[in-house]
Symmetry: C2
Subunit: 194 residues, 2 copies
DNA sequence: AGCAGAATAGTACGACCGTTCGTTTCTGTC
DNA sequence: GACAGAAACGAACGGTCGTACTATTCTGCT
């Protein structure tokens, strides 16, 4: 990896730390330059526009997410164990990776009603993720772990809502019971899917 | 109502329209002055700081929410009917009231990791709301509609997650099945609470 | 009708924003 | 070790931000 690529990666990493707490729109070139100990113009040269910085930060997070959640999930054995692995990895992602919580949730809420490239990118990433969950649930069906008439789309919808609820309770309300509540809800979801 | 109070109310109303799509932090005095056809300074005089504008906009939304959701809910007959009323009113609130979706969800995500008066206010409103849901669920228990050993805190947690999931699916992903999914999940939640 | 105070407007401020441009410093290759 | 291109810097731009002042216009009461 060349020098330029390395700096760029570290900028994007730092950008995600900031974006997780203040959002992507509140990212500012100047502040980011300070945190990375670069000049504004030197940092800017890597992206040539703020929108590009935001987009590439989001893609950086997506690549990270793939490493941390998607790939390990696919390594677990098919069926319910894989669903469990997905859940556990996802929970860790929500909890530990960023100081301000999941950047995708942040992005989803920032751009849900604001047109532009960021909106489109966020939507695409979320659609991919939802599709992935649905597929994993599908393998649990075909393995016979889940009932054959399970609506895997509904399963995904419920799991997504569960995670958003966890984020809300844990992040905003600092509810110490949030993890337990989430785990027990997940078990109930599994039970009703068998 | 005096002239000043009327203008202030209309400013807050407009502020909420904007905040629902771009968030509370992205509210700007200048832009808001344009939309309300006032001078920046004339508008500013009503609040004396941007933070006060944000706080009062949030309180304005809370008062509105009380009228639109809380009061009608309390008018429904105790027990499960009241829980249903809460759900339906809440769903309408999420869907129809603001052009950019629920301002509390917006606020929750903006301030979950940023200290300050806005953070505290958002948390307080959300705690009040959660407490209200729990209480309503409690009446369904005491009326004998829900099982006596129901964990009403868990019920609230699940319902909150369900609504966040709805918001996510309907707003960001524009999933036309979002309402149906939410309703059917709600029915399942009721069933498992009886 | 006139007056007091509320409500609104006008202007200016320093700070920061994203972006541009020309210059300087560093890196990797021969 | 020289040279070319990549990488980073410094200074400046027009614009918007929140806020502070003073001045003007409007409202409601007597």
């Amino acid at each position: 990896m060349s020098k330029g690529q390395a700096t760029k990666a570290s900028i994007l990493h730092e950008a995600l730390q900031v974006a997780s707490t203040v959002g992507f729109e509140a990212l500012s070139i100047g502040q980011l330059a300070e945190r990375t100990e670069m000049s504004k113009s030197g940092l800017f040269a890597h992206f040539r526009s703020k929108e590009q910085l935001q987009l590439q930060a989001l893609d950086h997070a997506a690549a990270w997410f793939t490493d941390a959640v998607v790939r390990p999930t696919l390594k677990a054995s098919r069926g319910e164990p894989r669903v469990r692995e997905l859940f556990e990895r996802w929970l860790v992602w929500e909890t530990e990776v960023f100081p301000g919580g999941c950047v995708f949730i942040a992005g989803s809420n920032e751009y849900d009603d604001q047109p532009g490239l960021m909106h489109d990118s966020v939507v695409n990433h979320q659609r991919d993720w939802a599709e992935f969950i649905t597929t994993v649930a599908g393998t649990a069906v075909s393995e016979g772990h889940f009932r054959p008439d399970l609506d895997t789309g509904q399963f995904t919808f419920l799991l997504q809502g569960l995670m958003l609820g966890y984020h809300h309770a844990a992040r905003l309300l600092r509810d110490p019971r949030a993890v337990d509540r989430t785990r027990s809800a997940f078990e109930q979801l599994l039970a009703s899917s068998r």
